[in-house]
């Protein structure tokens, strides 16, 4: 576990953060320029904080007061950089083995072949990084960091430079690594979907300060209104059960005590639990059970609260059973439908807005 409480001033930017990570993936989330990557740089030891303490599994890495600063190569913290930073003069195999060579004997617990297999990079081993695509490069970089047998992995926006399809290839790999190798990960990203899908714990940074810490459900539900994120970024996370598949139409049926959601695409084995991410802007509200609509996914609940913001309103819906769903609609629509706090309603979700991207296998321990 990493624990830190550090401050650093660079020119006009002032970073002052304190948090500890949880099991699995902890996300550092925030807009660009919020200090996420800088925080990672401090953890990795590539910069020194002006003040503070960093501890990894009770080993003090940095303590400015006591004059302790452990060099990066002694920290055993693997880093996956945004643009991979593979060594151009070494083959993929040599890149992967680079860190292994320096790992202390007896700490090379992570098996080379299984990492290569999970990341599907077996065919790339003899090649040089220049001959790889962006997605391949990033998979190799993940393998390289993992194979040095780290106590902690840092991911610095590893998918930011990739297109959506590559992201979809790599996200499940990161989930598998998280579950199979049990190395804690601190994951920096400003992509809300990535973070919501991967992380157990989210540390929200804004302008160099921690704004919120918590599980994805709590943190993302509370975002919005006046913060650096627009209301359009507000999302909800719902636990659902995979109940059926409609092979003819390629749909998956997900159940929640409040209703059924249809997903365009696969979502794991029948009976499995998944977490879906619903953007507030993809939710439509209806006062009565709808008819003659193309929308097929509907959840019922009660309005918990309404937050008005100019012409729009953010509505919090307390779903039957458990969970909360956020919707953005116009104030006008709410008034015409006569919806107010406590009103029962149906929340409709566009199936076309939900596909694999929005579905995460439940992380261990959540």
């Amino acid at each position: 576990m990493i624990e830190l409480d550090v401050a650093l001033k660079i020119k006009s930017f002032d970073l002052d953060v304190a948090f500890e990570n949880g099991d699995g993936i902890t996300a550092l989330f925030g807009p660009s320029g919020s200090g996420k990557s800088l925080t990672l740089t401090l953890i990795a030891g590539l910069m020194r904080p002006d003040r503070g303490i960093i501890k990894l599994d009770d080993r003090v890495l940095v303590d400015r007061k006591r004059g302790i600063f452990i060099a990066p190569h002694r920290r055993r913290i693997g880093v996956v950089f945004q643009d991979s930073h593979l060594f151009p003069h070494l083959s993929v195999r040599q890149n992967l083995r680079f860190g292994r060579w320096f790992a202390p004997r007896g700490e090379r617990a992570i098996d080379f072949d299984s990492v290569v297999e999970i990341l599907a990079i077996g065919k790339l081993l003899p090649r040089h990084p220049a001959k790889l695509s962006g997605g391949e490069r990033q998979r190799v970089a993940i393998g390289r960091a993992l194979l040095c047998g780290p106590r902690l992995l840092l991911f610095d926006e590893p998918l930011a430079a990739l297109d959506m399809e590559r992201k979809l290839d790599i996200l499940p790999l990161i989930e598998r690594l998280r579950d199979e190798f049990a190395v804690p990960i601190v994951y920096v990203s400003h992509a809300i979907e990535e973070v919501a899908r991967l992380a157990n714990k989210i540390v929200v940074l804004d302008a160099g300060r921690v704004k919120a810490i918590g599980g994805p459900g709590e943190v993302f539900g509370a975002l919005g209104g006046g913060s650096a994120w627009s209301r359009f970024d507000r999302i909800s996370l719902l636990k659902m059960k995979v109940c059926g598949q409609n092979a003819a139409y390629g749909l998956t049926e997900l159940r929640h005590p409040a209703g059924t959601v249809w997903l365009a695409g696969p979502a794991g084995p029948l009976g499995g639990q998944v977490r879906i991410i619903v953007k507030a802007t993809d939710v439509v509200l209806a006062a009565r059970p709808p008819h003659d609509l193309s929308l097929r996914s509907s959840l019922c609940g009660q309005i918990g609260s309404i937050e008005k913001d100019g012409p729009l309103a953010a509505v919090e819906i307390v779903l039957e059973g458990e969970g909360r769903l956020y919707a953005v609609t116009t104030r006008h629509a709410l008034d015409e439908l006569g919806l107010d706090r406590g009103a029962r309603l149906f929340a409709l979700i566009k199936t076309s807005a939900l596909d694999e991207r929005q579905v995460a296998a439940m992380p261990r321990g959540s």
Partner: protein, 231 residues
Amino acid sequence: MGDLSPAEWTAIWLSLRIAIAATIASLPFGILVSYALARWRFPGKTLLNAAVHLPLVMPPVVTGFLLLVLFGRKGVFGAFLANIGIVLSFRWTGAAVACAVMGFPLMVRAMRLSFEAIDRRLEQAAGTLGANRMWTFFLVSVPLALPGIIAGAILAFARALGEFGATITFVANIPGETQTIASAIYSYTQVPGGDANAMRLTIVSIAISFAALVASEIVQRRAGKILANLE
């Protein structure tokens, strides 16, 4: 143009030997100094940089004279070295030292540029993978700077082949010991009727320089090709 005399052959071999020795001996220092100038921050960096470049701008005779003062038998270092059995003045080894000093700035300039061109984040990545500074230097920095290192070495070699002023001042012009192609040509031009001999050695000199350039081109192109595959 006729056959070369034994004395001329001696001058040619001596020139090559001196140039090769000068290049090889200065290579480790050149790599270290250029890396330090490219990457480290330390007090006196500007001074070191100036000192390295001094032979490039000073008259070669001045460099040669300073070497004589410092490394001559009675010089500060020369006396010490003579004490442990190393004599540089008026020996071919002294000529190699003079050539090394004269070629050093060229070597460092080329190498420093290529060290500076390496993405620092690659070196940082090596650090996060557990490599200390020394390993990072040998496994990442040096291989990536290789084209520049080769270019620097070849520049220094070419400079050594052509060195005249500092060499003749420091180690004189002793046939068989310190007489290089350049100083042999100079000698021939000082005696009546030596022009033909001077011309023969001039042609040899051109041939060697040309071969060195072609070789450097081939080596660099290869290194460039390897690196192009990597980028």
